[in-house]
């Protein structure tokens, strides 16, 4: 039996950098043996704006996590976010080779290859190719292998990113330890979607929205497949900034106020109710009307959801997502945010919880959805045994199974 693999899940977020260290035992069991998190410096709206500052933070966090785990990490799973992430659907079509039209694994591979092959403009690179539905002669099927069809179609959701930004992230990891390899780079939405939505929800069709500090990442599932992912470069940081500008307070005060008294819905009593800025009876403290706070936050949150609604168009409706909208990410703790989501999107919206296997209390915070998701992918990847990694072999072999 190969020795237990130690994997590190790294999320370089706008508010914090979090690292989870997982030990994969016997390729099946995942133990979270270390975690660390640090306030992020040099990341805004999900993108690295100061590489050396982010490197320092990330390395310090990795060291802290390794120290807690007591072991060194062998592989890194990274999450990616930011405005530069884009995706498109592509369908790979092949004529089944077999004379009697029996669909083989080979046909499936060919279809996958053609679906993933679209050339990207200069400076872009693919992050993941996520397999969607398969169609045998236009019929949607779960697994076409062994079926009889003349034409096989495979739908893929391809996520691509700005090559420079991805290179920066890889360099942060290789700068930590050049023997350490980045095993996967997974869009944050994909990672947190895996944690926030249950299998049933994904099968039914659901939208997972991870509202972080700098970005809002969403992933749309239909029949268990990912059909869309997206990033809106607006997050909790914008809520804070809005408060800071609107209430004429500094960013730190605004952040505290948001966490303490922030809410996304305007209620009746807000007009006459005030909260103290500091609440410590210090000089300079002053009362702030709840109404002002609620108005500012409501406007922003509603806007995030309406942008999402615009982006998704008809893909978001009560019929299309019977599983509803599941909110996660740090900002999903804002009271009333689900209510706003429901109003704007017109779909049942709730704040997600982590699956039961996440037992550590501190990791049950919605802010950990992404890193937990990354670890989960690490585990899945291990259970596949020998990885098909070579350029010739279909790279998405891993993900194909993952996203089923």
């Amino acid at each position: 039996m190969p020795r237990n693999k130690i994997i590190g899940a790294v999320e370089i977020g706008s508010s914090k950098i979090s690292v989870l260290v997982g030990e994969i035992e016997g390729g099946r069991e995942l133990n979270i043996i270390g975690s660390a998190e640090a306030t992020s410096v040099g990341v805004k709206k999900g993108e690295i704006v100061d590489l050396s500052a982010v490197s320092r933070c990330t390395h310090a966090t990795l060291i802290a996590a390794e120290k807690k785990a007591g072991v060194q990490v062998d592989e890194i799973f990274l999450s990616a976010s930011g405005q530069h992430l884009e995706g498109f659907t592509n369908i790979g079509t092949v004529n089944v080779q077999d004379a009697d039209n029996w669909v083989s694994e080979h046909d499936l591979r060919c279809a996958g290859q053609s679906a993933r092959q679209k050339a990207l403009p200069q400076g872009r690179c693919y992050l993941v190719h996520i397999r969607g539905a398969a169609y045998a002669d236009g019929r949607e099927v779960e697994n076409p292998v062994g079926m009889q069809a003349a034409k096989l179609e495979l739908k893929y959701w391809n996520v691509h990113a700005n090559e420079r930004r991805i290179t920066d992230m890889i360099h942060i990891i290789s700068g930590y330890d050049d023997g350490l390899s980045v095993e996967e780079i997974i869009p944050a939405s994909v990672a947190s979607g895996r944690i926030a939505a249950s299998d049933e929800e994904r099968r039914a069709g659901a939208l997972v929205v991870d509202i972080g500090e700098g970005t809002t990442d969403f992933v749309l599932y239909r029949k268990g497949h990912i059909v869309r992912t997206g990033v809106i470069p607006v997050g909790g940081g914008h809520l804070t900034n809005d408060l800071s500008i609107g209430l004429r307070i500094n960013f730190k005060q605004a952040e505290r106020l948001k966490l303490r008294d922030g809410k996304a819905v305007i209620e009746r009593g807000d007009k006459d109710s005030h909260v103290l800025l500091e609440g410590d009876l210090q000089i300079g403290d002053r009362p702030i009307p709840r109404l002002a706070i609620a108005k500012i936050l409501n406007a922003r949150v509603a806007e995030i959801f309406s942008i999402m609604k615009n982006r998704l168009g008809s893909a978001i409706s009560p019929q299309a997502v019977p599983g509803g909208v599941i909110l996660t990410g740090g900002t999903s703790s804002l009271p009333g945010i689900d209510e706003v989501g429901r109003d704007v999107l017109g779909v049942d919206t709730r704040v997600g919880t982590h699956p039961a296997w996440v037992t550590r209390k501190d990791l049950r915070d919605p802010g950990y959805a992404t890193t937990l998701g990354l670890l989960f992918f690490g585990l899945q990847g291990q259970s596949l045994g020998e990885r098909e990694r070579k350029a010739e072999a279909p790279r998405a072999g891993l993900l194909r199974r993952l996203f089923k």
């Binding site: 060291i63 053609s114 990207l120 200069q122 693919y126 990113a161 090559e163 700068g175 050049d178």
Partner: protein, 309 residues
């Protein structure tokens, strides 16, 4: 479709094609971590090396031992005795006093007993005895250095001269040149207590030795004049009243010094002596410097004491 594939291959279309080995993004923290890992590896390697070395040496030692002859297998006679001293004693003297018969089995010699035996000889302060195979016996001694002479009467009334060393031990000197002995002042005013063959060590000799050394250093002409040193008024505690060292000399009949602050007293003594000489006065009969800041000086042929301050 093949042409399409070529296009996509032509550029880095997947993030996996991005070069991962890159050291430019190193940070101090990551560097420190690399050092720690390296150091840990180094320590493990060093530990391993030490362990292996130890095992290897042990094996070598055992192998070597097994090749050696046991020392108890046969006899080895003492063929040579080497005596070595830092003083005046020599091999003949040693042979006379501690006869180790040449030809004794060297493995039967008790060198510890021998050492004790040699050290019991008065003039020897410290001895070391060692055996060098095949047949050599090494004896090294460090001797006492005499500072004073003391005269005693033997049981039969004969006059014996003993020597006193710095640590107070009293012994019968041997092989000293007579010139050395003549320069040593005599010691009076002490009680010698018998202890076996010899005497118990005297107290306060170290102080006297210091005084003599200082005097020879600072005022050699005065030191040369000293004949007897009388310790009858000496007490071991400096603050004791009347505590004094009395010195009898040829020119200055009596010099009384307090057993502390010798340098100061010697300088004053020197001053008084010079002063007296300049005034062409006759020899000084008595100088007492044991009072704090005055010197009581009595000149010869005069009966009244004169005070110098």
């Amino acid at each position: 479709m093949t042409s399409k594939r070529k296009v996509s291959r032509g550029r880095s279309s997947s993030w996996r094609e991005i070069q991962q080995k890159n050291r430019r993004a190193r940070t101090p923290a990551s560097r420190r971590r690399a050092y720690v890992i390296l150091a840990r590896a180094g320590m493990v390697a060093a530990g391993l090396a030490v362990g292996l070395g130890g095992v290897g040496y042990g094996a070598y030692f055992i192998w070597q031992q097994s090749g050696q002859v046991s020392p108890f297998d046969r006899e080895q006679a003492v063929t040579r005795i080497v005596f070595d001293s830092d003083g005046v004693l020599n091999g003949q003297w040693f042979a006379r006093h501690s006869p180790v018969p040449v030809g004794t089995d060297i493995f039967k010699l008790d060198i510890h007993a021998m050492k004790r035996e040699v050290e019991a000889l008065g003039q020897v302060r410290e001895a070391s005895v060692s055996v060098e195979l095949p047949g050599t016996l090494h004896v090294r001694v460090r001797e006492h250095v005499p500072v004073l002479r003391v005269f005693v009467r033997g049981e039969e009334g004969e006059r014996r001269t003993l020597l006193v060393a710095r640590d107070g031990s009293v012994y019968e000197g041997a092989l000293y040149p007579s010139e050395t002995l003549r320069r040593l002042p005599g010691l009076t005013g002490v009680r010698l207590v018998r202890d076996g063959d010899g005497f118990r060590p005297l107290e306060g000799i170290e102080t006297v030795a210091d005084l003599i050394d200082l005097a020879r250093d600072i005022t050699p002409h005065i030191a040369a004049d000293w004949r007897w040193i009388d310790l009858s008024r000496y007490r071991n505690e400096p603050a004791a009243p009347g505590n004094a060292i009395v010195i009898h000399g040829r020119h200055i009949e009596r010099t009384v010094l307090h057993p502390t602050h010798f340098v100061l007293q010697l300088e004053r003594l020197d001053g008084v002596v010079r002063n007296a000489r300049e005034r062409a006065q006759t020899g000084i009969a008595h100088i007492d410097l044991s009072y704090a800041d005055r010197a009581i000086v009595r000149f010869r042929n005069e009966n009244r004491p004169q005070q110098h301050s």
